[in-house]
């Protein structure tokens, strides 16, 4: 069976500087894949490339093939024109934006916005549209009567649900959710995540979930890819990556999360920040911030598979144990 989405050697540049620098990504039908990393690492750019929604100042190259069950043959996204993309977006793949709750039209009733999405892609009767709207709102756990409301009459969680309903309006086979819960508090976050998980099971939806919150990804995804400075530095099944991270960056990301019940205190920040796209270090991109960096790291480590789909771009992998590093860089602030 071919993958639902197959991204090969995706590169995106801005003024010649790489934002995304050779990303490969495969999503199977019904699979949930998480993309993690600090802001500026290329997560959102990767997502927008799949939708072909990049700002015109960015240049994109690489092969992106979408093979949805509802289409007769594979769709080569990179070759599609803007008009051709209109037939793909929302119909086969849709996007829930970051801060989506603020992207609803303030002067249109919620149901009118959903109706518009359906009518753009399908020839359906008004009666059928009405039935679809009610069904969609029910699916995302909203009373259909809320469709009469305007965005400002809904709470943050309700607006986020409307955005999920919109993303599902044309029954796509892939939904990309870019930080869908960042603006929500813990209860609503859990509700929205549970909703996405339920829809995935019920509708066989594949999901790309972008988040910097490793906890959110662990609970929702089958596989996870960690990005750093435009590259995937580690990828694999969630259980493998979380129980035995094989890249120093992943390890630090996991350590920076408070684990309730374990020792309290603030994790120390990873020193420095991610590199500027115009000044990417030679060799391993994480080298300047890595406590384990050595001479080998001056050469660029390829992403290589260690076992069962678990791959990492670190010369020293597999790591069986992590040597202790300088106390100044690891000791908790709280002591």
């Amino acid at each position: 069976m071919s993958a639902l989405l197959d991204v090969r050697d995706l590169r995106v540049t801005h003024n010649g500087h790489p934002i995304v620098d050779g990303v490969d990504l495969r999503i199977e039908p019904g699979e949930a894949v998480g993309l993690a990393g600090e802001s500026g690492c290329g997560k959102t750019t990767t997502a927008l490339s799949v939708m072909k929604l990049l700002p015109s100042a960015l240049r994109q190259s690489g092969k992106i093939t979408l093979t949805p069950p509802a289409a007769k043959k594979p769709i080569n996204i990179e070759r599609r024109t803007e008009r051709g993309m209109n037939l793909v977006r929302w119909r086969h793949v849709s996007l829930i934006f970051q801060g989506a709750m603020n992207s609803l039209d303030p002067v249109q009733r919620v149901e009118a916005q959903i109706a518009e999405a359906i009518r753009l892609h399908e020839q359906v009767s008004s009666k059928e549209v009405r039935a679809r709207i009610d069904e969609l709102l029910t699916t995302v756990g909203l009373t259909p009567s809320l469709g009469h409301r305007y965005a400002h009459q809904l709470s943050g969680g309700q607006r986020q649900r409307v955005m999920v309903a919109l993303a599902l309006a044309c029954r796509p086979s892939l939904v990309i959710a870019d930080e869908p819960t960042t603006a929500l508090d813990v209860v609503m976050q859990a509700q929205v995540l549970q909703l996405l998980e339920r829809l995935r099971a019920e509708l066989g939806l594949a999901l790309i979930l972008i988040s910097h919150d490793m906890g959110v990804l662990a609970e929702t995804c089958d596989r996870i890819a960690i990005m750093y400075a435009g590259r995937i530095v580690e990828a694999g099944p969630v259980s493998a990556v979380f129980s035995s991270p094989q890249h120093p960056y992943t390890k630090r990301l996991l350590e920076s999360l408070p684990v309730i019940g374990a020792e309290r205190g603030l994790a120390s920040p990873i020193p420095g920040g991610p590199p500027d796209p115009g000044a990417i270090p030679e060799g391993c991109r994480f080298r300047p911030r890595c406590p384990y960096a050595a001479e080998e790291c001056l050469s660029d480590p390829p992403l290589r598979e260690l076992s069962g789909g678990h791959a990492t771009a670190c010369h020293f992998a597999p790591w069986t144990e992590w040597p202790a590093v300088d106390a100044a860089t690891t000791a908790g602030v709280r002591g």
Partner: protein, 328 residues
């Protein structure tokens, strides 16, 4: 001097809304002790930010009072004194700094307002900048638009520190910052608390952050504190069913984090229509007969110093939790 910096007792703040009166704060009692980090957590709309504003004298209470160092804060003079002793930083470092002022003027402004002699300004501004980890030479002449989000929040903290307050109220100070910047700002705050014995109120909706950072935590629901106690007790062994639901909703970053959880259903009711009896009863999985009639106050539950506003812990209701609470 007692070890309580600020005492909030039975504080109520009401706002006029189209649908009637919104009781944003509806009888909040809270003790903020010297040098401690007090976390205030809850869903959006529970009244966390209103509480912060009321503690700063920025909104007028409808009832109840705030006292600082044992003296009631009422009237202009007292509010002025309050703001010398307690300062506040806000969520959005992009909106709180005057875009037309240089960093030097922004940080010195509280000194001007409080009438501190001018010859002291430069030294105090520099000290505050040093405390937040910004080089004075480098940053004092800049404008806010020349700073990153993390630098802006540091400037806001410096301006709050320049009066050398005893307490700092932080309203979601890192929720708009990226993960790596976030831990830098938190490190600055914790360092200040430790070195200057600065008391912090830390308002957040991030429970795991509150757990890792705070000494004590107060959980708010619909304008009231429903549970309080040490951070470890409240988050690891919550007693109020609401706190239990919040704690269960925290995503777990582990390999087998797929545990099925019981989620709180529904949404926070409107503050104009607070349910009768226990305000949490319509959403409570453990409600029993009198919960829709009796409004419970805070009572001992679980660990010493842990309180929950829940009838499960009322000895007169004869529920098993009372016995459990005694040995918990």
């Amino acid at each position: 001097m007692s070890d309580v910096l600020m005492d909030v007792s039975d504080l109520a703040v009401h706002f006029k809304a189209r649908k009637g009166t919104a009781r944003a704060l509806d009888g909040v009692s809270l003790e903020w002790r010297r040098g401690e980090i007090l976390g205030v957590v809850g869903e959006s709309g529970c009244g966390k930010s209103t509480l912060a504003r009321a503690m700063m004298g920025l909104v007028k209470p409808a009832a109840g009072e705030v006292s600082l160092n044992g003296e009631t804060v009422a009237g202009r003079g007292r509010v002025r004194e309050l703001r010398r002793r307690v300062q506040m930083i806000f969520q959005d470092p992009y909106q709180t700094l005057n875009p037309r002022q240089r960093v030097r003027a922004i940080v010195a402004e509280p000194l001007v307002v409080q009438g501190v002699p001018k010859d002291e300004h430069e030294a105090r501004v520099r000290r505050a900048m040093e405390d937040v980890g910004l080089t004075a030479e480098h940053f004092l002449t800049r404008y806010p638009h020349q700073l990153s989000g993390g630098q802006r929040q540091r400037v806001a903290i410096a301006a709050a520190l320049v009066l050398e307050p005893d307490g700092l109220v932080c309203d979601e100070p890192v929720s708009m910052l990226d993960a790596s910047v976030r831990s830098q700002i938190l490190a600055v705050l914790v360092e200040l608390q430790r070195r200057r014995n600065l008391a912090l109120v830390f308002i957040t909706h991030d429970l795991s952050l509150a757990w890792s950072l705070c000494d004590r935590i107060a959980v708010m629901y619909l304008g009231r504190v429903v549970e309080q106690g040490s951070a470890v007790d409240v988050i690891e062994r919550p007693r109020h069913p609401y706190t239990q639901a919040l704690a269960a909703a925290i995503p777990v970053p582990s390999a087998n984090g797929d545990a099925k959880r019981e989620l709180l259903s529904g949404e926070l009711p409107d503050a104009t229509a607070i349910p009768t009896g226990c305000r949490f009863h319509p959403r409570c999985p453990r409600r029993f007969e009198p919960c829709d009639r009796v409004d419970p106050g805070l009572m001992a539950a679980g660990a010493p110093d842990q309180l929950a506003a829940c009838l499960l812990y009322d000895p007169t209701q004869g529920r098993a939790e009372v016995a459990g609470a005694a040995d918990g």
